[in-house]
């Protein structure tokens, strides 16, 4: 296989609580390759979400390295890490995290304007809007562009969140139990969308899940237990 898109090397991460350090990741090695869909499986508290946050440069590791296309990125200045999150990494969370004041379309557009200056935005607005509309249409929300999150169902909200994660054309999408909050029927719909995007766009995926059935459909399953990757 080729060089991994995103990898963790001997990552250690702990949290201090009441003066005591609780180890969450205890030397984790992990890779995801271009176009690969990896399922991250494990019980609650195994460290799946923390690994995802560390991989997504939201949380710096205590030790070990995070490499993006072979380059270490975990110790870059805060602005550069933010820029990498914006351009290379997309996030999908269990609880959608849409901005309630914005419409579906605006929520998706927000994912595109993070690094654009107001004047440049005037030029790029049309193209960005066209892309956002196209993405929302592709997840089946073409008729709900102007609806706010409160007017959308859980499945619809998650589809908006997926469109938002895609708009900056990331190399890898980190999804933290994307169907964990949905009923099985809606979850299946959302998963179909994720698999289709993976097929069509060739984006790498890291899917944190409890669902063994879903994991079975991925290229590779990585199991975690007590802050370590098994086998």
């Amino acid at each position: 296989m080729t060089q991994p898109v995103l990898s963790a090397e001997k990552v250690v991460k702990g949290y201090t609580l009441g003066g005591e350090t609780i180890p969450v990741l205890r030397g984790v090695d992990f890779q995801v390759h271009a176009g690969e869909m990896v399922a991250l499986l494990g019980a609650s508290g195994a460290g799946k979400s923390t690994l995802l946050h560390v991989l997504g440069l939201l949380d710096p590791p205590d030790s070990g390295r995070i490499l993006l296309a072979g380059q270490p990125v975990h110790d870059l200045p805060i602005r550069e890490r933010a820029a990498i999150r914006h351009r290379q990494i997309g996030f999908v969370f269990q609880f959608y995290h849409l901005i309630p004041e914005l419409t579906a379309l605006q929520n998706v557009l927000l994912g595109r304007m993070m690094l654009t200056r107001p004047l440049a935005w005037l030029r790029e607005r049309r193209a960005a809007r066209a892309r956002a509309v196209q993405l929302l249409e592709s997840v089946g929300l073409g008729k709900r562009l102007r609806h706010r999150p409160a007017q959308l169902s859980g499945g619809e909200r998650q589809r908006v969140a997926i469109a938002r994660a895609l708009i900056a054309r990331p190399r890898v999408i980190l999804a933290d139990e994307p169907t964990g909050n949905l009923d099985s029927h809606t979850a299946a719909e959302v998963l179909e969308i994720l698999f289709r995007i993976h097929r069509e766009e060739g984006i790498s995926f890291v899917l944190v899940t409890h669902n063994a059935e879903l994991a079975a459909r991925c290229h590779r399953i990585v199991r975690m237990k007590d802050g370590l990757v098994l086998g």
Partner: protein, 438 residues
Amino acid sequence: MYRLFLALHYLLSRPIHLLGMGGVMLGVWALILVVSIFSGFLREVRAHVQSATSDLTVFRLRWPTTYRGLEQRLAEDANVAATAPRLVWYGLLHPIERPGAAPAPQEDLPTRADARFVSLIGIDPASERPVSGIERWLGDVTEPRLRVAQPADPLPRNAELPGILLSRTRMQRENLVAGARVRLTLARMNAVNGEQQLHFLDREFQVAGAFTTKHVGFDESNAFVPIDTLRAMLAEGEGAVVNEVAVRLVDPADARATVERVRRALLRDHPGVMVMTWEQRNEIYLQAIGHQGSIMKLILFVIMVVATFLVFATLSMMVVEKTRDIGILTAMGATPAGVLQVFLTCGLAVTTVGTVLGILAGCLSAFYLDAFRSWMKAAFGIDLFPTSVYHLERVPYDLDPLWIAQVVGASLVLGLLAAGIPAWRAARHDPLRSLRYE
């Protein structure tokens, strides 16, 4: 771009921010309107005071000082255009006859209840005319019953009784008309057998007419009489006594330097003499009004501070509510500095819009205050600003761009503080906390 975009949507979806905006607007409006009216008022009052006072006054002359030597000394200064002798005294004024009222009994004059204190200025009208505004003060009286018969010679020497010029307000209040007779009681300490004794002097005068200077305080207390008559009463046989000289300057702008020159020139012959410009003479009065202005600014500034608290409170509420968004914004590529700017933009937008509206409201209400006042008077009979008290034709205002700039500066600095604290707290919020828990 997301900073502006989010700030705008956060603001527009929360009408409570109108509260802070309204507060800032109210504060700016009050600061601009009230202070501009006040400085307009101060400007008018200064003009009125100036019009009632000669450019320079020489006083605290030792008794008895005669005018002749003094006049020559003063005339030597290049900046002195004209001088006028004055004898300033005090007395009690009793109206003897009022039109339509029965003649008052004359026995117990000094104890009569309607006697009024009056500050008397003995003048020589011919010398006074080029020095002070007496011609204008007489000419400004339009009521035929109060007017001086001969403005060219308001206090004729050959009249049966010496004349007295009273202020229009005093004549109206005392119900006097030109030609009415009044009695003046003066007092003076005299040495009798080496012992100081108080002597009362009493004389009848005929009201020659009214004067009005627009300086309410001056008109309230002063009356003019012929200097010769006053000398005859107070300083019989002591010559052309004066205790004050009014001076008109060639260049009033150079008054301060002239004061020093004149004082030094007079000091040798007249130890203890004082020379003051019209401003120095009325310093306490003008300063008192100025102080009122400063206190008012302070009080109004408190409104601004309260408005800032409103902005602070509404913004803090919003930050608490919006910490949920900080996680996803960070995941999408926002930095803590970016998060700070989102909330700072919100606060500054509220303050800026409030300030701009306040300036507009302040300027517009200053421009249209007179129309508004007339309307209030016509519709409800309420006079917001009784202009007649201050001899003003309209409510004065002075929109000072520097003051407006100061208000804007203060408002923006306060807004920055009010927005900065919650914004800083938002920026310090751990984004993972909002991602981990829903």
